[in-house]
């Protein structure tokens, strides 16, 4: 009896739903957010769906960044691709190389009222061709900053307001912390992103040739230059002396910092939500330190995060829906709320202005550090971003080589030389696959 009732219900809903949906164009949006971020994305989608009746967006979580990209690729091969796919910045070159699989955002937005110049330069540049065409829509972008546990500094007899803007100053503070017996003076998340990729941009030295890959697929890695070697050597020394504690390849160090064990922590500005909710101590956000004496430093830091790609192979009406949704996402109100909730950058100038007007920066001092760090200087060829194929895997190689430095198996020069050589092989294979 129950079975028949259920069957009838099923039949009724299946029969009814197309009727209800005929008026709406439904599109699929695959993203990589869970937890609080997942809820916030779901909220954006609901707001969009309720704001109009023509289109309906269906958001699905597909795992972490790498898994989402893989799901998108596998779906494309099977002809089942979503309309909008979230791809992390590391996958940008892979997506750009996939002509025929993607529909560039500037084409999608051709009919809609959309101004790509509303996006701040250093964010837009990452996802734009060299001739200025926007290929994917920036979504969540962050940049590394220095997080400071003020209580830990005070406990070691250091003025918590001490200047930490240069690595020279940080070095002195690390000495004092170690002398005071602190067990974890400095830790980091995302070592390659912060201590090589951003280090290079911030000091205006190339990470790779051909404008970090923007100017061509025949790019070669170049992060074994003197600035990077000196920095990694210094960190290796700190690791050896117990001043830098390596916690893992991803953001494992975050748990140590939030628990109050570590005094200084280099991590994404998007670490804000987690640190704010968990930290039982006074904390500060400071700009990422730079090496004083390096010409051109501090330049600007580069972004991490993801952008939204529109996939090829759908109906014109569905592209209209995608355009409407992307336009909605880039509106100042949505962007400002996202920035304030998450610590991701306000990626349009209007969203930054709106946040300032709302008094958010005054109430939450330090939340604008990342914005300033990104926007004070106009990006150069070395600080526009990175566009390298197989980059997720190159980061894996960099992680391995850096671990050899932290454990004392290799010196900085040898490790970075080896990472460059191994990474170049992958770049050559990527170049061949894309031709």
């Amino acid at each position: 009896m129950q079975k028949t009732a259920f069957g009838a219900l099923l039949a009724a809903t299946t029969a009814l739903s197309p009727l209800a949906a005929t008026a709406q164009t439904e599109i699929q949006f695959w993203h990589a957010f869970t937890g609080r971020l997942g809820e916030l994305v779901a909220e954006q989608v609901v707001t969009f769906n309720e704001s109009q009746s023509e289109y309906s967006v269906n958001a699905t979580h597909k795992g972490n960044y790498s898994e989402t990209l893989n799901a998108g690729i596998a779906a494309f091969r099977a002809g089942e691709q979503p309309h909008i796919l979230m791809v992390f910045e590391v996958g940008t070159a892979t997506m750009m190389g996939a002509e025929g699989a993607i529909k560039p955002v500037y084409e999608v937005m051709a009919g809609a009222e959309f101004d790509p110049d509303a996006y701040i330069g250093s964010v837009k540049g990452y996802y734009t061709t060299t001739d200025g065409q926007m290929l994917s829509l920036p979504f969540n972008s962050s940049t590394p900053v220095l997080w400071v546990n003020r209580d830990a500094l005070e406990g070691a007899g250091i003025d918590p307001d001490t200047d930490l803007s240069t690595w020279q100053n940080v070095d002195a503070v690390l000495d004092q912390l170690a002398e005071a017996g602190h067990s974890c003076p400095l830790t980091t998340a995302w070592q390659s992103w912060i201590h090589l990729e951003n280090l290079s941009a911030y000091h205006d030295v190339p990470f790779a040739t051909q404008d970090n890959g923007f100017a061509g697929l025949d790019t070669e890695l170049a992060f074994n230059g003197p600035v990077q070697v000196q920095h990694i050597a210094q960190m290796g020394e700190w690791a050896d002396e117990g001043k830098f504690i390596y916690a893992g390849r991803r953001n494992e160090g975050g748990a140590n910092f939030r628990a109050g064990e570590c005094a200084l922590f280099t991590e994404s500005s998007a670490g804000y939500a987690g640190i704010k909710s968990e930290a039982q101590f006074e904390f500060d956000v400071r700009p990422l330190p730079y090496w004083e004496g390096v010409e051109g430093a501090p330049q600007n830091t580069i972004i991490g995060g993801a952008s939204l790609w529109v996939m090829e192979g759908h109906e014109p009406a569905e592209y209209e829906a995608a355009a409407a949704f992307l336009n909605f996402l880039s509106s100042p109100e949505i962007q400002a709320k996202w920035h304030q909730d998450t610590g991701y950058l306000p990626i349009t100038s209007a969203a930054g202005e709106l946040t300032r007007e709302q008094g958010f920066y005054q109430e939450n001092p330090g939340t604008d550090v990342a914005v300033k760090q990104m926007t004070t200087n106009a990006p150069t060829a070395n600080s526009k971003g990175l566009r390298l194929g197989s980059f997720d895997q190159i980061r894996g190689i960099i992680d391995e080589e850096l671990e050899a430095v932290w454990s004392g198996d290799k010196d900085a020069q040898a490790a970075l030389d080896s990472a460059v050589e191994r990474g170049n092989q992958l770049l050559r294979r990527f170049e061949r696959a894309s031709n």
Partner: protein, 293 residues
């Protein structure tokens, strides 16, 4: 004299093996064939274009010192996992076999870990040995040992071996236990009357009689260590520190699904297929001669 039961005609036997042949064809021969085919190309991730490169993917791999090092890592890893999964299992089975009372309870408890999926087992062990909050890491710290599998290669290898072998002990235990029950009591009693003590009886009588089971488990455990430990490695070390725990199958994953380099990844699975095939042939050719059925 061997007894043989044969079917008359061919239709019935064909029908009986058809499902197995079908399943093997769909889930093994077809994908394996695809892998061999793909290994001759460098495709782009989206399958929009691909170039025929012949055996170049293999040349590239075998010329890569890191890939060759991964063979050594795999050999060490699978040997350790197999030993760590079989020896304790045999010991536990022998002990459980001696129990007169409540053997059933022990047996049930000992089988439980087998129900835990490798990835979950990895997370459990990672929790215990987490350098910051791990219980065991903390105790080791109290004893003055600074546990750090995040940077220490030996400790990382030890941890993934233990985590991989743990659930497997249960599986091996079951087989050893069943085999022990099948050892004729009369032989053991006769030896006991002749004055042979427990361990002597174990090494001279029980162990040789267990050899078919041991051989079977050896093959199965090596295959397990080669292929199914992926989840453990992925959750605990992701192949690190440096490349200390990057076994062959993990490299297939990271080149294929992180690097999107499907040509190299396919070539690696072909190599892996050949290695495991050869290993199994060798085992049957040499070790099986020592097995008494």
């Amino acid at each position: 004299m061997e007894k043989r039961v044969t079917f008359k005609g061919w239709l019935l036997p064909l029908c009986l093996i058809a499902p197995q042949v079908f399943i093997s064809a769909v889930f093994f021969f077809y994908p394996a064939g695809q892998a061999v085919w793909q290994s001759l190309f460098i495709p782009d991730p989206f399958g929009l274009s691909s170039q025929f490169v012949g055996l170049e993917n293999f040349e590239y791999l075998l010329g890569d010192p890191y890939y060759r090092a991964s063979f050594v890592t795999t050999a060490i890893f699978s040997t350790l996992v197999t030993l760590a999964a079989m020896i304790p299992a045999l010991f536990l089975a022998v002990m459980a076999d001696r129990l007169v009372k409540s053997a059933g309870v022990y047996r049930t408890l000992l089988i439980w870990p087998y129900a835990v999926a490798p990835a979950v087992a990895g997370v459990l062990w990672l929790f215990m040995f987490n350098t910051r909050v791990g219980v065991i890491a903390w105790y080791l710290g109290q004893l003055g040992y600074d546990w750090n599998h995040v940077l220490n290669e030996g400790e990382a290898m030890g941890l993934v071996v233990v985590a991989s072998a743990w659930g497997r002990i249960s599986y091996n235990f079951l087989f050893f236990f069943a085999a022990l029950q099948a050892v004729p009591r009369s032989i053991i009693e006769a030896a006991a009357i002749d004055g042979a003590r427990f361990w002597r009886r174990f090494f001279t009588i029980v162990l040789p009689l267990l050899s078919p089971t041991t051989f079977f488990l050896l093959v199965v455990n090596i295959v397990y260590a080669f292929f199914e430990t992926f989840g453990v490695i992925h959750t605990i070390t992701s192949g690190g520190p440096q490349q200390a725990t990057t076994i062959l199958v993990y490299k297939v994953f990271s080149d294929g699904f992180v690097g999107q380099d499907l040509g190299s990844s396919a070539a690696q699975s072909v190599i892996l297929l050949i290695v495991v095939g050869l290993l199994t042939v060798l085992q049957f050719k040499y070790i099986e001669k020592r097995v008494h059925y």
